[in-house]
């Protein structure tokens, strides 16, 4: 008797797929073949802020800067990753991860990176941020280097420069 396992041998076994499937996949392949090459990806740089409580921080950035949520991911271990946008400017917010050396300014007792937000009305933005719980480090004023700018510290210790360039008439004053 032939071994039933040997009866399974079938190196080639063509089969016709469903016509709709074949046509759809052909279209997906055509799209894939014509997609722009990976080298044409736009270069961007996005700060990722470590905070003790991302949900609380995200709410603050919404209240303070009018940020909108681009996406939010809750990871199985309880960590939260969110990307926020203020206009075209994007930044991410996530939990501190001491095991990877990602600590917030309060845990570190200082901050090595300041975030510079350029926006049309820095006075209004700073005012809103303070109302939402930020602390003023330097008030918004016309600066000798051609900016109207000030600095605040958010409730998680991250420092934000908030400003805009002065126009020529303002600089001449």
């Amino acid at each position: 008797m032939i071994d039933p396992l040997d009866a399974l041998h079938r190196p080639s076994s063509p089969a016709e797929p469903r016509a709709e499937f074949a046509a759809r996949l052909r279209q997906q392949i055509e799209t894939e073949l014509r997609r722009e090459s990976i080298t044409e990806v736009r270069i961007t740089l996005t700060p990722i802020l470590a905070v003790p409580d991302p949900d609380q921080a995200i709410q603050f950035y919404k209240d303070a800067f009018g940020a909108t949520e681009v996406w939010l991911e809750r990871l199985p271990g309880g960590a939260v990753y969110g990307e926020l946008a203020v206009g075209d400017a994007k930044f991410e917010v996530t939990n501190e991860a001491a095991e990877h050396g990602n600590l917030g300014p309060q845990a570190l007792g200082g901050t090595s990176v300041r975030l510079s937000l350029i926006c049309p009305d820095p006075d209004a933005v700073a005012e809103r941020a303070v109302a939402a719980g930020a602390r003023i480090i330097f008030p918004i004023t016309d600066q000798p280097y051609g900016y109207r700018q000030g600095r605040i510290e958010d409730p998680f210790g991250h420092q934000w420069l908030i400003g805009r360039p002065l126009d020529q008439a303002e600089q001449a004053r």
Partner: protein
């Protein structure tokens, strides 16, 4: 005839797609026994190949190469299934419930029916060894296991196959 190298590449790949589709799809369908799984894996194979063509990495792109990619996808599929089965503590004979899509394109021999009732891990090793006719070292490479572990898995899988095949006879 197109002179644009991008168009030319696309045309060549689409021509290969038309010739290779029944081979790749049939390879996967006969082995997984599930139309929707076979379609998903077939898409993965061709889209991965299309991406390498777009990056100008034709390599030795051929039907044999596509079948080798399909075999990798199938092994990944069975690995995921084996993990699910371990999670659910499925008994050997319960895995037949996996194949929900009617599978009438292929004649149902008793050996094939037996193979489909085995847990994913056994199905994977027996399919590579007997259906595909790979050597034991080749099977070990596909599964990412040592030769010794593969031989012992094969022995257990053959045992389970023969018991189940015999039961079908006794019914």
């Amino acid at each position: 005839v197109s002179t644009d190298p991008v168009d030319d590449r696309a045309e060549r790949f689409l021509a290969l797609y038309d010739r290779a589709l029944p081979e790749v799809y049939g390879y996967l369908l006969h082995r997984c026994g599930d139309v929707s799984v076979a379609e998903d894996l077939t898409s993965e194979v061709f889209l991965a190949a299309a991406r390498s063509v777009r990056r100008d990495e034709w390599g030795d792109l051929s039907i044999a190469w596509l079948i080798a990619v399909a075999r990798n996808k199938l092994v990944d599929h069975w690995r995921r299934k084996a993990r699910e089965e371990r999670g659910l503590q499925v008994m050997a004979t319960d895995s037949a419930t996996e194949d929900v899509t009617p599978f009438d394109q292929v004649e149902e021999g008793r050996a094939w029916a037996t193979l489909r009732r085995l847990p994913a891990q056994y199905r994977a090793v027996l399919t590579l060894r007997y259906v595909d006719g790979l050597s034991v070292p080749e099977v070990a490479a596909e599964l990412g296991r040592t030769l010794h572990a593969t031989e012992s898995l094969l022995a257990r899988a053959r045992g389970a196959f023969r018991r189940l095949y015999q039961e079908a006879d006794d019914d």
